[in-house]
């Protein structure tokens, strides 16, 4: 049952994301295209069906009403709607997304669903009435009460039964399916079949009987007895359905039958007209809704044969990653085993090389499984910019670039809230409050926020850039002074002032707004970015704008490290932190009055940190010319580490330290994790930034 629920949650969330992006892009052009309407109709229909199956009646009812609404729009087109009801419609669709999201979230947290949907239903109904009255030019309050009163399934039953009673002129091509005897859950199987048929055939193109398979498990009886009858308007769709039927399991047999239409004269003209429009829509569909193919393949319930995506629980991928990590280590333990020393083993070496190649490949593949594009996170910002723009009365355009950049799934989840926070900050503080100010500054009255992502080797760089007023350094400094973060007799550089922004409890806004100033500030953002091993930096030019840059590692699980030795200990330094390594003579070292030493490289002086002294190790080189200096850099910090020897570069699997030792706060001394070396020993991974700060 749990897995069904999980599937439901996953599918509904995917659909809601689609719905939201359709609504937002449609709002830009102020109309729903025919393809959009069809798509929303389909989404609502799927949500309705699956909610009914899970017996979430409130969700089903709401989805059903919205489906009704879009049915009307689909029939009459967007053009007849007035400006006002259009914006109402967009708002309604977004509200519906929020409603479903909230409910799905509740399901996720095992909370009871809210049954109180009346106010929302009234909203939808009044929207339906309004649109109807605009279409027909007359108010139709009676239809509202009728619609609201009639229950969803019965309405449909009546509709289809009428069709059956009236004969089969409309749907002359029938297909009778019998399921395997004793296969069980016939109603569900039938429903899945209907769902698959819906993938290529719109609802008005076919009918099925019993029509209440979605909601009524008892219909199984009837299906066992009489078979499951599908009737189509045209033969092509039926042929396609036969393919679906034959490819799905548990089908005993199927029969086809053609209803010979008496004469064309019998067919009423409205039906004919409808048919032609339907055909037109069918033609339009593949070109307009390019998204529908992707959504079809990810929707779990439909049992279509073209499915090429599966959804996998993230914990399984974590497990896979852990096992692959172990394999990589074990492989080098075997091939570099000291037992092999001095032996000449040609075949072994050959096989070992082959094994190495395969484990590398395995590692690459399993890493790529966890990579997801950042577009999902980026798309969410559209909604935030829109909602905040409306509330704050600012016109802002959001530009996304590099959405296809891929990052490890856990990292994306870890930073999506941070990106949201930064975008909110840009909206709230960055973009000028009045357009007159923007025009006076010679800018486009419409503000712009650019969200970009790009790869650079082992890192992904995400930039949030706005063309607003930038950081007001004086104001920030004043604020820092009143909050006693800064001291009045000090001179601060702009960089230092920016750092105040990243301190806990700092907010420039005097009032708490809905969007910011609640005490959760940039310090939290900085923490969560650093939590995934990234860095955050801010640059700003007053009057021109502000750019926040997040540098995020591609993945946290595996990294390139340089092994160095100090005495008997082996430490690993992340390669991306290393700028250079070099030998020096003691006369090149500059001593200041105190204990500290410096070295000049590339026209700059850098402090030297001796790991041996810092960590109080027993052995290790004392003389600077015996060992080697490693010039490391992380964000703003740059210095030289003195170690005994470089051992070599290696890909290492990062393992967290046991919680017991972490409780001694060694993270603040630059010890972030450890890794198991080829010989089974452990090497400690150093965090060069924290190491320097601990001095």
């Amino acid at each position: 049952m749990d897995s069904i629920l999980e599937m439901y949650l996953y599918e509904t969330n995917t659909l809601l994301e689609q719905l939201e992006s359709i609504a937002l892009s449609a709002e830009q052009v102020n109309t729903f295209s025919q393809g959009n309407v069809d798509e929303i109709f389909r989404i609502m229909h799927t949500i309705k069906g699956s909610s009914a199956m899970m017996q979430f009646n409130a969700l089903m009812t709401v989805a059903h009403r919205i489906e009704d609404l879009f049915f009307i729009i689909r029939e009459s087109g967007m053009d007849v709607l007035s400006e006002q009801s259009r914006s109402e419609l967009f708002e309604l669709v977004l509200q519906a997304t929020d409603y479903f999201r909230n409910e799905v979230e509740k399901l996720n947290n095992n909370e009871p669903l809210s049954e109180d949907i009346d106010s929302f239903l009234t909203k939808i109904n009044s929207c339906i009435v309004k649109i109807k009255s605009e279409i027909e030019g007359v108010p139709a309050p009676s239809s509202l009460s009728e619609c609201a009163a009639s229950d969803a399934p019965t309405e449909e039953v009546a509709q289809t039964e009428n069709l059956l009673v009236a004969g089969n002129e409309d749907f002359p091509y029938s297909l009778l399916v019998f399921f395997d005897e004793g296969s069980g859950m016939e109603s569900l199987r039938a429903f899945m079949l209907v769902n698959s048929v819906r993938d290529f055939c719109s609802d008005s193109e076919f009918v099925f009987s019993p029509s209440d398979v979605e909601t009524n498990p008892e219909s199984s009886e009837a299906i066992i007895e009489n078979g499951f009858l599908l009737q189509f308007r045209n033969a092509d769709n039926r042929d396609a359905s036969i393919q679906v039927v034959t490819s799905s399991g548990s089908i005993r047999t199927y029969q086809t039958a053609d209803y010979s239409a008496p004469t064309l004269a019998n067919t009423t003209t409205p039906v004919l007209a409808e048919e032609t429009t339907e055909v037109k829509k069918e033609n339009v569909k593949p070109t307009v809704s390019s998204k529908s193919t992707a959504s079809d393949s990810t929707s779990g319930l439909s049992h279509s044969s073209k499915e090429s995506f599966i959804s996998v629980n993230l914990s399984k991928l974590d497990q896979l990653m852990a096992v692959v990590g172990e394999i990589v280590i074990t492989e080098s333990m075997v091939t570099a085993s000291p037992d092999l020393n001095g032996l000449k083993l040609d075949n072994f070496t050959k096989s070992a090389r082959q094994l190495r190649k395969l484990t590398d490949e395995l590692q690459d593949v399993s890493m790529s499984l966890r990579m997801v594009p950042v577009s999902g996170t980026f798309q969410k910002m559209n909604r935030i910019v829109r909602d905040m723009g409306k509330k704050l009365n600012k016109r802002v355009k959001l530009t996304l670039t590099g959405e296809e950049t891929e990052v490890d799934k856990t990292i994306v989840d870890g930073i999506s809230d941070s990106i949201m926070h930064i975008v909110r900050n840009s909206m709230d503080h960055g973009i000028e409050t009045s357009e007159a100010d923007r025009i006076a500054a010679g800018k486009d009255p419409v503000g712009e926020i650019i969200l970009s992502a790009r790869h650079t080797g082992s890192e992904v760089i995400i930039e949030i850039n706005d063309d607003g007023q930038g950081i007001n350094y004086d104001k920030v400094l004043q604020k820092a002074l009143t909050q006693r973060l800064a001291s009045p007799d000090m001179e601060y550089s702009t960089k230092e002032i920016i750092n105040f922004l990243l301190m806990p409890g700092f907010s420039t806004n005097n009032d708490v707004t809905e969007f910011s100033g609640r005490g959760v500030g940039m310090d939290v953002v900085k923490k969560s970015v650093e939590g995934v091993g990234g860095t955050l930096s801010i640059t700003s030019e007053p009057g021109v704008g502000m750019t926040t840059t997040l540098k995020i590692p591609l993945t946290m699980a595996i990294m390139d490290g340089m092994k160095v030795s100090v005495g008997s200990s082996i430490f690993t330094i992340p390669i991306h932190n290393i700028r250079q390594s070099f030998k020096v003579n003691s006369d090149e070292i500059i001593h200041d009055g105190t204990q500290s030493e410096m070295i000049k490289c590339m026209d700059n002086f850098y402090p030297i940190v001796r790991i041996k002294d810092l960590y109080g190790l027993d052995c290790g080189y004392e003389e600077i010319q015996d060992g080697i200096l490693i010039w490391v850099e992380s964000g703003e910090i740059s210095y030289c580490l003195f170690v005994d020897e470089l051992i070599g570069e290696q890909q290492v699997v990062v393992k967290p330290l046991p919680t017991y030792v972490n409780s001694f706060n060694i993270k603040n001394h630059g010890i972030t994790g450890c890794t198991i070396l080829g010989d089974g020993n452990i090497s400690i991974i150093l965090d060069v930034a924290n190491l320097y700060l601990s001095i």
């Binding site: 046991p658 060694i666 198991i676 452990i682 400690i684």
Partner: protein, 164 residues
């Protein structure tokens, strides 16, 4: 799991010693609890076997900087990283080089402890364990029990052990 080591008295270890007193005056609610007895600096300690995972010898320990001296470091036990602490140093006694490691799992936290030698396993009724005197300064001991040969076993408070 158990590698041959002179320090392990295996015959003693595997001969489960039933306390003769249990048979005679076992109270109806006297639940039996098993303890692994080990030696550290001539003192006998008992660890509830519920927490004991395995006993290992000859393992390479990686020392960690910036931790209290009783944390001897971390070791790699079949891919798992486990911290190791020295009971002697934890109790404020001088350390000894050659030792045996008992791996404990205390409510999900794995930890290794350095001990001098492992003596035996015993089953004793819970209510025979006497509380340590109130003015006892050794925080890690939760109770005392007199063994047959007249010596005293001190019950190690494992839960307190993993709280640094």
């Amino acid at each position: 799991m158990l590698k041959g080591n002179s320090k392990l008295d295996e015959t003693m270890l595997f001969s489960m010693q039933e306390d003769p007193r249990d048979a005679t005056d076992q109270s109806p609610d006297g639940e039996l609890t098993q303890f692994l007895i080990f030696r550290s600096d001539d003192l006998l300690f008992g660890a509830n076997v519920e927490y004991v995972v395995e006993i290992i010898t000859n393992h390479v320990i990686t020392t960690l900087p910036m931790v209290p001296n009783y944390v001897r470091g971390i070791l790699n036990l079949r891919g798992q990283i486990i911290p190791v602490i020295d009971i002697r140093l934890r109790l404020g006694k001088p350390s000894q080089e050659e030792s045996i490691i008992i791996v404990l799992n205390i409510n999900g936290i794995q930890i290794g402890i350095f001990v001098d030698s492992v003596a035996q396993m015993i089953s004793i009724p819970k209510d025979h364990i006497l509380p340590a005197p109130a003015n006892n300064t050794q925080k890690l001991i939760s109770g005392l029990y007199s063994l047959q040969d007249g010596s005293t076993m001190m019950v190690l408070d494992c839960v307190l052990l993993v709280e640094p």
